[in-house]
Amino acid sequence: MTAPMGIFRGRGVALALIAPALAVVGLFFVAPLVMSGVVAFRGKGGEFTLEHFRKSFDYYTTDLLFTLAIVLLSTLLIGLVAIAIAGYLTLGGHPRTVAVLRWLYRWPLFIPFVVAGQLMRTFLAKNGMLNHVLIGSGLIEPLSAQSLLDWRGIVVAFVWKQAPFVTLLLAGAMAAVESQHIEAARNLGARRLRVLVDIVLPQVRGTLLVGLVLSFVTMLSVLSVPLMINPNSPTMVTVDVAYRISTHGDYPVANALCLLSLALAAIGAVFYLRHAAAQVEGK
């Protein structure tokens, strides 16, 4: 935006138009977030304390590491799946396969996490459809069928649900890459995989990063999937937070755990905000 072009003019008008939205986000998002930071550090008498964090680490260090590992692994897999699918959609040489793939990949796009959790809870169970198909096709013995409803189930649910979202963003960005670059490289004899890695991916790095960071942050605060697939220890921090509140009414430790998962997300969020700010400024 270089100059004001609106039909309504004046800074006062602009601020008045945006104030209600800002107030809602401020009251119902920013304020509770700040409150989290206060409650987590405040003792019974209102004094500053690190007691809640000590307790968090005493009880939940394993779960914190478990959470980080699951979310990192899921993010990595989502990235790989998204690159593979978006890459084939952009560079694939077989039009019908491209068309089928384009129709196929996006089904889970708007399916809510809570439904994805329910889907996987029955699909990946010991007597779920996955095992029946594996046994039926002779790939595994009936006796070696096992339930995948542990960390693996969470990762599968996350990738199943989030990969289409990143793929959608990535395919959109790849479609905007100059086709001349791609054709030139192809004419010089480069293979598709090389074109993808050397020419296309570097140009869509920003979009990939945004998609992955958004997924990373989203997965960190999903409660339903771990609650439905793997509620027992070790589990994800979100489950611990819900447990501290519903069973103990222990808001301070719940908030300390929240802040710790915020810290996990902070690294990602910094990347994201910096990139988003650059995008907005660049317009």
Partner: protein, 271 residues
């Protein structure tokens, strides 16, 4: 790859597509089976008996499911109305007007997508509990709106930015007042984007779980919460039917999303 004969490559392609199709539709098919299963227990591969008993139970006039569906839709409608009422002016200001502290304001509107929401819900629940908003429709709508609002602001801002300013200027030159110009030129041209943002907010509210889990208890049971309770109670038929109800709008929107949102606007979502 090019060294392989084309028939091998075709089989390879078909195999990969088949695997992907199974990965995507397998869980959905499993859900369908559960929704129509009368009896199904280990080690049977398929339900022993199909039927609609559980559908009758879900849709009986005083059943929980219909009440939850009503609650969910009512909350979603209120959330859309509230979100758009504040997001449309905000989106317009962001797209068209000179704003002081523009960067900082944008940052605030990015926060709810960039920060895990759990601490927010936990503390809102605590505050709402003290002021009596816990377990009320209004409380849940406020929580949904504070999140949906952000999407709505972005999409509305992108929609307004895409309206050609020369059309507005022409209308102003012909003597239209700013309000008439906005109502008859800008708003109709931005409408597809605004409808898209309404659908996004509606779906997000309909599907929202965590916020409702903390703020809605014990009196507000939306469809996702009902489904969750049925699943945790081991009632897979009820939870599968409820999940199907939730899937219909989600998949329907997935199929038509590109009619409302061109790829470039869609790529703006999440930026």
């Amino acid at each position: 790859m090019s060294a392989l004969p084309s028939s091998v490559r075709m089989i390879f392609r078909a195999l990969i597509l088949a695997l992907l199709a199974f990965a995507i539709f397998g869980p959905l098919l499993n859900l369908l089976l559960w929704a129509f299963a009368e009896r199904w227990y280990f080690p049977n591969k398929l339900p022993l008996e199909f039927g609609l008993t559980y559908w009758y139970r879900v849709f009986q006039p005083r059943g929980n499911a219909l009440a939850s569906l009503g609650t969910s839709v009512w909350i979603a409608v209120l959330t859309v109305a509230f979100s758009l009422a504040v997001a449309i002016p905000a989106g317009y200001a962001l797209a068209r007007l000179k704003l002081p502290w523009r960067g900082a304001i944008l940052l605030v509107f990015l926060l709810p997508q960039a920060v895990p929401n759990l601490p927010v819900y936990v503390n809102i629940a605590q505050v709402f509990y003290q002021i009596g908003l816990n377990g009320t429709i209004l409380g849940v709508v406020l929580v949904h709106a504070s999140h949906g609002l952000v999407l709505a602001v972005w999409i509305a801002s992108a929609a307004f930015a895409s309206v050609d300013t020369s059309l507005e200027e022409a209308s102003r030159n012909l003597g239209a007042s700013p309000w008439t110009c906005f109502r008859t030129v800008t708003l109709p041209l931005a409408m597809p984007g605004l409808i898209a943002s309404a659908i996004f907010v509606f779906l997000e509210s309909l599907d929202e779980f965590t916020g409702t889990y903390f703020v809605g208890v014990p009196d507000v049971t939306t469809l996702p919460l009902l489904m969750f309770n049925a699943t945790m109670g081991g009632n897979y038929q009820i939870s599968s039917i409820t999940a199907l109800l939730l899937l219909i709008p989600s998949i329907g929107f997935m199929l038509v999303v590109e009619r409302f949102l061109k790829a470039d606007v869609l790529a703006m979502v999440g930026r």
